[in-house]
């Protein structure tokens, strides 16, 4: 089983997994903190009555988080399959 996995395969799998982790966390940080630093200028744009800065904190970032997790889990899944370490 997993014990027979050659160390270099495990290392390659982990380095890809780590890469995905950093990418996902970078997107997370942008939508958790970074864009909200510009709320005052974003509020100048009003769509359907929503000031954009307000909208991003009330709805926009949340939608990004939901999509991000599903995207992450399908990416991680294909990494696992690529290295043959996914569950049967």
């Amino acid at each position: 089983m997993t014990d027979k996995l050659p160390p270099e395969v495990a290392a390659a799998h982990w380095s890809k997994t780590r890469g995905l982790m950093w990418t996902t966390l970078a997107i997370w940080a942008v939508f958790s903190f970074f864009i909200h630093m510009f709320v005052s200028s974003l509020n100048g744009v009003v769509i359907l009555g929503f000031p954009l800065g307000y909208y991003m904190a009330a709805q926009g970032s949340l939608i990004v988080f939901v999509v991000l997790i599903f995207w992450f889990s399908s990416r991680q899944n294909s990494i696992d399959e690529e290295f043959g370490v996914a569950e049967d």
Partner: protein, 616 residues
């Protein structure tokens, strides 16, 4: 409905919950018909409570179990989407349901720190922790810490942190369920607490995690319907479109216009009016990291069949949580707009005393709470309000600025304020009650399981058989629940305000050792233990020092403040401290054994089943 199932839900989930949703919809329609037939309000309210508690009890009893793995992790058979709903109910507390829209109503943009903070943390859960904890296959979070960091010392520190963040939290849930039950049923608060206690125990005692999971799914459905319906109602009445999340842009515009007319300086949508940008972002940080560290949330991801499902399940959890959290700002905006419009129409923008709406007096005069205050007095009678306002120089009426509503009443009172029928009011009550019960159930299991599994089984009597372990679990469950209920009964205001601390405590005490335990092989036993102690210690020191000072009395002038950080964001010190101490101590202690490094390697590969099979 599930009579032919022999207690096993998992093969027929779709069918069972379709029947359940249909039955629930039918019940709500029945209540609407009752109302038209002139059945008294009181009976409708009682029917809502009785029917929902009845169904939770039914599910709880049907899911009773004598199998250890079913009791602790629902037999690891919960599909991603159902675990998502259960996590949603587990996560959204009475306070989220009742208070979130109210917080936004009062704080405007700044309140969105809670909306962001309580959702974004799930990204951290999905990426950093859930799949690995699931692979490990522990029953509890301290179980993982104990195994990764070499035994009972780490386990014990983990339990202390868990207890500190979970026990205050469960007390607050029982308090919330008591408030809701007493308001809607018109019974004494002390009695209502025990209604809540009964509601919690019937769900959890016989079937542990298995029963709690399936009741939480049912509770999620009740609470989300109860939350969305009034918002959809208001949106349809105001804009003709039943999508409040889209139409409240119109309400925001209206609020802006009203602010001009009423001369209100603080704009509802402008940032950083009630807290500084630094406070805003540090609060978001602490809430997010705290979310990713709360044991009662992490343990929900132990219940999925596979690692793959655990990841996906985090996505579903956030989706179901999102449904409520992206509606809360709409709720707040509609309520604010409706309330402001009362003043904009009136002469001189002063609401005449003679046209004070009935609901203000009704909610204002509820004993023991300050839900509505006008001109600084409790809104009990028109005479009292008139006298207080005249003393302030308002002869004919009072301005918007003199009206103060308690955060917690916005959601509960909106249906009656907006003139919705009593069957909607009752539904909202049932939803709030479901939210409080489901969170309390999750917390109760987190505490009782840590005590029974980690302390009793792992540390005191590792030879105990399954029957004995489950018996001990159930006894501890009742003891913890009773203790929380008795504490909640005393209305401990300090404990209730401490709930907000739970996030910082969990974040500081658990996040660094959990994450580094998975992502850094070099993290050593002593590193992990010292990291937990440092993070937890600094945060507790700051919390107590900031709120009480070290004479443990509020407001005596010896309180500390570092860079002006608020108590609620105390984790901003503890989280980095946890990481730094774990890192430094690990580097100065010898590297973990080859065995431990192999253990971490296996943790990182989904294939090969759970690791902790032996001994269970």
């Amino acid at each position: 409905m599930a009579m032919s199932m022999k207690g096993d839900f998992t093969d027929n989930l779709g069918k069972i919950y379709s029947v359940y949703v249909g039955g629930f919809a039918g019940f709500v329609v029945l209540m609407a018909i009752f109302e038209m037939l002139g059945v008294p309000e009181r009976i409708i309210m009682w029917s809502y409570m009785a029917a929902t508690i009845g169904i939770y009890a039914f599910i709880g009893i049907m899911s009773r179990t004598a199998v250890v793995s079913e009791y602790y992790v629902a037999g690891r058979s919960v599909p991603a989407i159902y675990n998502g709903m259960a996590t949603g109910a587990d996560w959204m507390s009475g306070a989220s349901f009742v208070g979130m829209a109210g917080t936004l109503f009062v704080l405007g943009y700044d309140g969105l720190a809670y909306v962001l903070g309580w959702t974004g943390g799930y990204v951290l859960v999905a990426v950093l922790l859930a799949p690995y904890l699931r692979k490990f296959g522990a029953y509890t979070v301290p179980d993982f810490l104990g195994t990764r960091y070499g035994g009972n010392a780490a386990r014990l520190v983990g339990i202390v942190v868990l207890f500190c963040c979970s026990f205050t939290y469960i007390t607050a849930q029982l308090y919330a369920s008591g408030i809701i039950a007493s308001m809607f049923l018109g019974i004494d608060f002390g009695l209502a607490i025990f209604a809540g206690l009964a509601g919690i125990l019937v769900c959890s005692m016989l079937g542990g995690m298995k029963a709690v999971t399936w009741t939480q799914v049912a509770q999620y459905i009740v609470l989300i319907v109860a939350y969305l319906l009034p918002a959809i109602w208001m949106s349809t009445v105001t804009f003709g479109i039943p999508l409040p999340q889209l139409t409240y842009g119109g309400a925001l515009t209206k609020i802006g216009e009203y602010e001009q007319v009423l001369g209100i300086a603080k704009s509802y949508v402008a940032p950083f009016q009630n807290m500084s940008a630094f406070d805003y972002f540090s609060l978001i940080f602490c809430l997010m990291v705290g979310t990713a560290s709360l044991p009662h949330i992490l343990m929900r991801f132990f219940t999925t069949p596979t690692v793959r499902e655990a990841r996906k399940s985090v996505g579903w959890s956030l989706f179901f949580i999102f449904l409520l959290y992206f509606t809360a700002p709409a709720y707040a905006a509609f309520s604010k707009m409706n309330l402001m419009s009362l003043f904009v129409g009136a002469e001189g923008n002063l609401l005449p005393f003679s046209s004070i709406p009935q609901w203000m007096l009704q909610w204002g005069s509820i004993a023991g709470h300050q839900l509505v205050t006008i001109c600084g007095v409790k809104a009990e009678t028109i005479e009292a309000i008139t006298a207080a306002c005249q003393a302030k120089g308002f002869a004919a009426g009072f301005p918007f600025a003199e009206l103060k509503l308690n955060n917690d009443m916005i959601v509960l009172s909106t249906p009656s304020i907006a003139g919705m029928p009593i069957w909607v009011v009752g539904l909202v009550g049932a939803g709030g009650f479901a939210a409080a019960l489901s969170t309390a159930d999750g917390l109760l299991l987190a505490i009782a399981n840590a005590l029974s599994h980690d302390i009793y089984y792992r540390m005191i009597d590792p030879k105990a058989d399954a029957k004995r372990r489950l018996l001990i679990s159930k006894i501890l469950l009742i003891v913890v629940a009773l203790a929380a209920a008795f504490l909640a009964r005393t209305k401990p205001s300090d404990i209730l305000s401490m709930v907000a601390w739970a996030f910082s405590i969990a974040a500081a005490g658990l996040f660094a050792p959990l994450v580094m335990g998975v992502w850094w092989k070099r993290a050593t036993n002593l590193g992990g233990i010292m990291g937990m102690i440092a993070g937890f210690g600094i945060t507790m020191y700051y919390l107590i020092g900031n709120v009480y000072g070290f004479d443990f009395v509020k407001g005596t002038g010896d309180e500390i403040s570092w860079f002006g950080v608020k108590a609620i964001a105390a984790g901003i010190f503890g989280v980095p401290a946890g990481f730094i101490v774990t890192y430094v101590v690990s580097l100065v202690t010898p590297a973990p054994s080859q065995e431990m490094q192999d253990f971490v390697d296996r943790l990182r590969l989904p294939k090969g089943g759970t690791m902790m099979v032996a001994g269970h």
